[in-house]
Amino acid sequence: MKKSFLSMLVVVGAVMMLTTSCAKLPQEELDAANASVEAAKAVEAQRYLAADFNALQDSLNKAMTMIETQKSKFSMMRSYKDAKALLVTVTTMAATLKDDAIVKKEEVKIEVQNALVETNSLVAEVKLLIAKAPRGKEGKAALEAIQTDLAGVEATLTEVATLIDNGDYMTAQEKVSAAKEKTNSLKAELEEAIAKTKRK
């Protein structure tokens, strides 16, 4: 009698195991992946490497779907192996993306700083050309206009320096390119005027 009761207990236990036991949720990996994605976001990866960040987001979503899909399954059938592997990949991807974004941001920063230096040199060249430019009829009026335009460029370059200091390299890039284009056109205008005078 006692033995048959024990046997029944084993059976009930087995049934309980069958219905409740399951694979362990990869919570640690999930937390690590989420933290990694947030860290990538913090260095503006979504701005500087938008396509890569989108792919990372997709992978994280995919892992979440995999987890919930497993959770929907019959306990004994659950396996978080794939989800876990994907979460580890996401964590690695996010860490790489974070580093890449920092590098990219630095590249843009250097590019903008170089463009700023280049445009400042162009401004200096234009100032030298202004000194050489013909001052005859109409020339002086045109020179005055160029000087005021150059003052506008210099004001933009001051704005660019502030934007670089504030870390807004994308906006700085647009402004410095515009300033460079304008300065180049002023330079060309002056060079043409000087060349004309030499030909005369």
Binding site: T19, T65, S72, E144
Partner: protein, 374 residues
């Protein structure tokens, strides 16, 4: 335990296990299943929408889709904590369908908005570029308004920045820059055009003055001097026939009438030479003093003073001359008419005390002037 009893017990255990297992399988197969396929599809749609820059161009729709997707995932998680048989994925399904719909709509809208912005902005760029050119051609060198010149420069820089953003496909960044550029240049053109129209309202009067002066020259077989400020010309007529068209320079505020001393404006009116100066009597090679202010200038000055437009202490000024020292290419005098020394010799040759000098804003209409500047 006998072998028979042990066999019986084993059979019972097997039966119980089979029954439980079978029951559970039946229960599981009868319970609801999550719409995994739709969820995967939705995830893909959202990814596509993000790639299509829906966050930029269909932000509300993408946000709705992402919220619905997030809620669906939460609902899925909730249902997964329930006992198989009591799981209900209808709300999850509903949320996923909503996310799918909104995501697809966001993707479509983003692509359409980008296409339309690409096209529409190209048109606006052309319009603003035209306005910038128009400003540079018609108002760029005119002493109209310092603020307007500043606005033009700002508009030009904004235009260039907008073009950079357009070239890199950041259309949303283009819009505020281009709109501000268009507004600034549009306002500058409008204000300056209005100022010029008001100024050119005197064209009939100027034409009458010039015609009468030339007729007088013809009738009296004498020389006259006509100054056209807009054309920057000083004409010498003899016996009603133009014999010289000389380049002339004026005061920095040459558009408009001269109102008071030190306003750097060149007067408009009918005057005559009162004195001829040369050698040590002038700093500008040779000079013809004219009788500014005339009666009309005095009357206008008095009226403006009465209205409080001119301070009581300010005087009307004088010593307006046609003199040499010109050819600088800019308007630099305090209100006089300057020509080059060589040209001044011509002026001096043809002028005498009493020679009529008529100074007008323009001999052409504003439309004619602007058409010739194109």
């Amino acid at each position: 335990m006998s072998l028979k009893r042990r066999g019986k017990l084993s059979l019972v255990i097997i039966m119980v296990l089979l029954f439980t297992g079978g029951g559970l399988i039946t229960l599981f197969s009868l319970s609801a299943h999550p719409p995994v396929e739709s969820i995967d599809r939705c995830s893909q749609v959202l990814s596509n929408a993000r790639q299509a820059e829906a966050a930029e161009y269909a932000g509300d729709l993408l946000s709705d889709a992402e919220i619905a997707y997030g809620e669906a995932m939460v609902e899925w998680n909730i249902q997964n904590t329930r006992w198989y048989i009591s799981r209900d994925y209808s709300l999850l399904n509903e949320k996923i369908q909503l996310a799918l719909r909104k995501g697809e709509e966001a993707c479509r809208k983003s692509i359409a908005v980008k296409d339309s912005m690409h096209h529409d902005l190209a048109v606006v760029f052309k319009e603003v570029e035209k306005d910038l050119e128009r400003y540079a051609n018609h108002f760029g060198v005119l002493p109209l308004n310092q603020q307007s010149r500043q606005d033009f420069r700002t508009a030009e820089m904004l235009f260039l920045e907008a073009r950079k953003a357009y070239e890199s496909g950041n259309y949303n960044r283009v819009v505020p820059k281009l709109e501000k550029s268009r507004f600034l240049i549009g306002e500058s053109i409008r204000k300056n055009q209005k100022t010029l129209k008001n100024y050119f309202a005197n064209i009939s009067k100027w034409k009458i003055w010039v015609d009468e002066t030339i007729n007088w020259s013809r009738a009296n077989k004498k020389s006259v001097i006509i100054v056209d400020k807009f054309a920057h010309k000083c004409y010498i007529y003899s016996r009603g026939v133009e014999i010289h068209a000389l380049d002339a320079e004026f005061g920095i505020n040459w558009i408009g009438e001269k109102n008071y001393v030190g306003d750097k404006a060149t007067p408009e009116g009918r005057y005559s030479v009162t004195k001829m100066k040369s050698k040590k009597r002038t700093n500008y090679y040779k000079a013809l003093l004219i009788n500014y202010p005339n009666e009309e200038d005095k009357a206008r000055f008095a009226q403006q003073k009465k209205k409080g437009l001119i301070s009581k202490k300010t005087s009307i000024g004088g010593l307006i001359e046609i003199h040499g020292g010109g050819g600088k290419g800019i308007n630099w005098t305090d209100g006089c008419v300057a020509v080059s020394n060589e040209d001044m010799d011509q002026v001096f040759r043809w002028a005498e005390v009493g020679t009529p000098v008529t100074i007008v804003g323009s001999l052409k209409t504003l439309e004619e002037v602007q058409a010739s500047e194109k």
